[in-house]
């Protein structure tokens, strides 16, 4: 399993559009992609799960990828979050 932590910089947190984009981005991987924040956890492949986690600006989110293509999946997650809305830690 591989993991990485990010801080959310978008003042709106992870809202509808980015949540949809994130799940779209990772659903193609065989590995599981999950995440954990201080107050919630969920499945990054599910837009509903990402939205349900109510991730807000300033939150620290750790992504976990596990499976045969876990490195590629984590790179994809990082590429997605590294769009100046988010800050890698």
């Amino acid at each position: 399993m591989v993991s990485a932590k990010v801080i959310i910089r978008d003042p709106m947190g992870i809202h509808l559009r980015p949540a949809g984009m994130l799940s779209n981005e990772v659903i193609r991987f065989q590995s599981s992609v999950t995440f954990q924040t201080g107050h919630s956890q969920g499945n990054a492949k599910s837009m509903l799960s990402v939205l349900g986690a109510k991730i807000r600006v300033g939150d620290e989110v750790t992504f976990f990828c596990e499976g045969p293509d876990e490195r590629a999946a984590l790179i994809a997650v990082m590429a997605f979050v590294d769009q100046d809305r988010y800050e890698c830690k």
């Binding site: 003042p11 509808l16 509903l48």
Partner: protein, 571 residues
Amino acid sequence: MFKGVNASAGIGIGKVAIVEEVKLVIEQKPVADTAAEVARFKVALDKTMQDTEAMKARLLESVGEKEAEIMDGHMMILNDPGLTMEIEGQIGAGVNAEMATETVCNMFADMFAAMDNEMFQQRATDVKDIKARLQKNLLGIESVDVSSLPAGTVLVAKDLTPSMTAGINPKNIVGIVTELGGKTSHSAILARAMEIPAVVAVSDFMKDIKDGDMVIVDGSEGVVYVNANEAVTAEYTQKRDKYLKDKKELEQYIGKPSVTKDGVHVEVVANIGKPADLEKVLQYDGEGVGLFRTEFLFMDRDAMPTEEEQFEAYKAVAESLAGKPVIIRTLDIGGDKEIPYMGLAKDENPFLGYRAIRLCLDRKDDIYKPQLRALLRASAYGDIKIMIPMVTCLDEVREAKALIEQIKMELDRASIAYNKDIKVGIMVETAAATLMADVFAKEVDFFSIGTNDLTQYTMSCDRGNDKIAYLYSTFNPAVLRAIQRVCKCANEAGIMVGMCGEAASDPMMIPLLLAFGLNEFSMSASAILQARKMICNSSKEELQAVADKAMSFTTAKEVEEFMKEYVKSLQ
């Protein structure tokens, strides 16, 4: 008469057809073979998926691509592993498919409903619509088919589900009334796209009506009449016919350039106060935005908006306009507004006091710099122009421009993209600025005349004071001379001159403005086509005589009467 929310403009008169969804009874039942139950759910899921694709195809045909995308959202939710895995997990634990669907969908619908944003709350309706379709497929119940309703039908429902709306034949449905919903609900968006008059959020409407009742739906005003008397019906029939005639006539001007008969090109653009107003700008074919007020970003909150937040808002507007120009006015705020976090002292005379550019230049670090930096960064994503409000002297312009240059250098050092040739202009709305217009024209890229304040400042007349309202007329020769002078100075210097006050859309004013040499007319989006029609039917050269005559009068009343007669003579 019933009152609701005006969700889609126009007037519809027709017979009621009440559309009610079958009330689904979902019961918990024991499941003997959980694997078979999961398989049953998967069959229903596939069927729902196919139904959704079919609805998308129908919407593509009856409404358009943008609206059909709503169904893409539904397919995304149906495909969401968070939803399907959760449901299958519950079935695996011995819950029947109908009940598992109920529980899991309700959980997500509640989640959306609890979010503090109307757009999210509307997604709750989507999830519930999907839930009902899944359950109907599980139970083998057919959905209500609205596509076969006869011509002249007013559709009445508690709430229109997206799937119901997808079945609507716009040729047969003349109006829509719902008890629930809002301006941004899917049914409202689709009603607007199909140009069906609609009034939503009419509480308890269905209690008092039955199938076959005659109703009048006034989607422009948000009112509904049931079995109205002859006089009211006649009045609305006339209103409807006029609305349709005017609309048809104006629609001819969509996609047409705003050019006078003698070949003078001008721009007809829109004033907006928030990004959501853009929908209308595009609908009425605005050639861009002539005034985007930024105050909305600063109002009704506890802290200053960050540079990032402003950047996102400006970027979103620039991108939505896809290359069309947008003039963004920097913060125009003063002691007349209650913004506790800004710590502004109450001004004795706020409109002549510490406001707009005066305030911004004094508060560079916390107000002006973040805003200008956000604007410059957003300029990489579209044709953004910066406009400085309430300018009275050249020093203000120079100081603001120096600050912009300083930020550009900082962005260069940080390798952040922006439009290096970004245009910087001023609002011309003070007497000082009109008198010095020739000088300003050499130092800025464009003018935009704010007639509301220009009238107020030129006439020394508080525009909110009823007792002196007689002084507040843009047709006052003093104001007209100011406008004419500003246009002339801009024309001579070769810079663009626009107008973003009410006067720009006034049919009595447009002929004068064309003759003066105004290049850009900015107004509320719904007035755009009317203004373009007038411009296309005018000849600038012929208007010179009209303007000369108007300018020869010495009182506002004389000018107004003359222009009123002139406009009448055109019809």
